[in-house]
Symmetry: C2
Subunit: 194 residues, 2 copies
């Protein structure tokens, strides 16, 4: 990497947890200057607007969290096992970027706010839903999941339940809500194979 | 009400949707001055800090949304029917305060932020969970719900799934995620009576 690229990457890495913790309005370019030790000129050489930096920071956080939640999941034991493994991973692992799930944070922060971030969050949920729905569809195809199951509905339910529970767990400082959600999703998945 | 109380109430009512939409960092006392038409002195006569106003605005929003979600629910047809009615109400009705669910917004905004708001949100979830758990407990007592059901787990699951789905629905501008969540919760409730 060129020196300029290294600096740019360092700005993104330092800005990501600040945006993730404090939201778009709560993170100023001045905060990023302090976190990176850069002067105004140095920062604006790489990012001409806060919006541009926030978008890159979100992409960075999202990639980190997606990797943690999906890498090395056991895909050899069928669709329902894979969904359960994904759910267990979500419950066990905390976000590698300080401040919790960047997708949840950005969705709530941007639903009435920044358009660029809103669009990025929307795309990320769409992508996540499609990946999970594909697992369900494969399970239907190989006879593991009953044919009347609705892949989109199951995908949306897994995402909604986990993200809602994460929100409660973070607020309450314990994993009770996440573990309760996991048990409920287990019931839902159990019904799929019945 | 005294004139002073009327002014104080008007400030809370005007500030509530701004805090709800933009979060704590995104709403300044200047924004509230603009929304109320008050001068700085007039505003600070009633609220000496932004934190104090934000807490009152949250209490106001929370009371409005709690009323909308629970008033006149049919309690005559048993616990499971009551839970289903509550879920249906949540799915159908949008927040009476602009910006979506104040509980979700404040929870995500304050989990790494303002302590007073975090404590208020925590209390609100606790209260909500206890109310729903009590309905489940009554259902167990009267034989409607099987005895092995865990009231707290069911309450947490309903809240997490609905709030997570609301977050997705608001982001995506349609009710698909909420309706999918409703269908999944229906499955979970169906298992309770089996």
């Amino acid at each position: 990497m060129h020196k300029g690229e290294i600096t740019r990457q360092r700005i993104i890495e330092r800005a990501a947890p600040i945006f993730n913790e404090r939201g778009y309005a709560g993170c100023s370019m001045h905060d990023v200057m302090e976190a990176t030790g850069l002067e105004k000129g140095g920062l604006y050489r790489h990012f001409s607007t806060k919006e541009e930096l926030a978008a890159e920071a979100f992409r960075y956080s999202l990639a980190k969290v997606a990797k943690l939640r999906t890498e090395d999941l056991d895909r050899s034991q069928g669709s329902v096992h894979l969904l359960r493994a994904f759910i267990a991973r979500f419950v066990e692992k905390t976000s590698p970027v300080r401040g919790g799930c960047p997708l949840l944070n950005t969705a709530v922060d941007a639903d009435d706010g920044n358009r660029v971030l809103r669009e990025l969050a929307r795309e990320a949920f769409k992508d996540w839903r499609e990946r999970l729905a594909k697992v369900v569809t494969e399970g239907i195809r190989n006879g593991e999941i009953r044919a009347s199951a609705n892949p989109r509905q199951i995908a949306n339910t897994i995402i909604a339940t986990l993200e809602g529970a994460l929100m409660m767990s973070r607020l309450e400082g314990n994993k009770t809500a996440l573990r309760d959600a996991q048990a409920a999703l287990d019931t839902v998945l159990g019904c799929l194979t019945a």
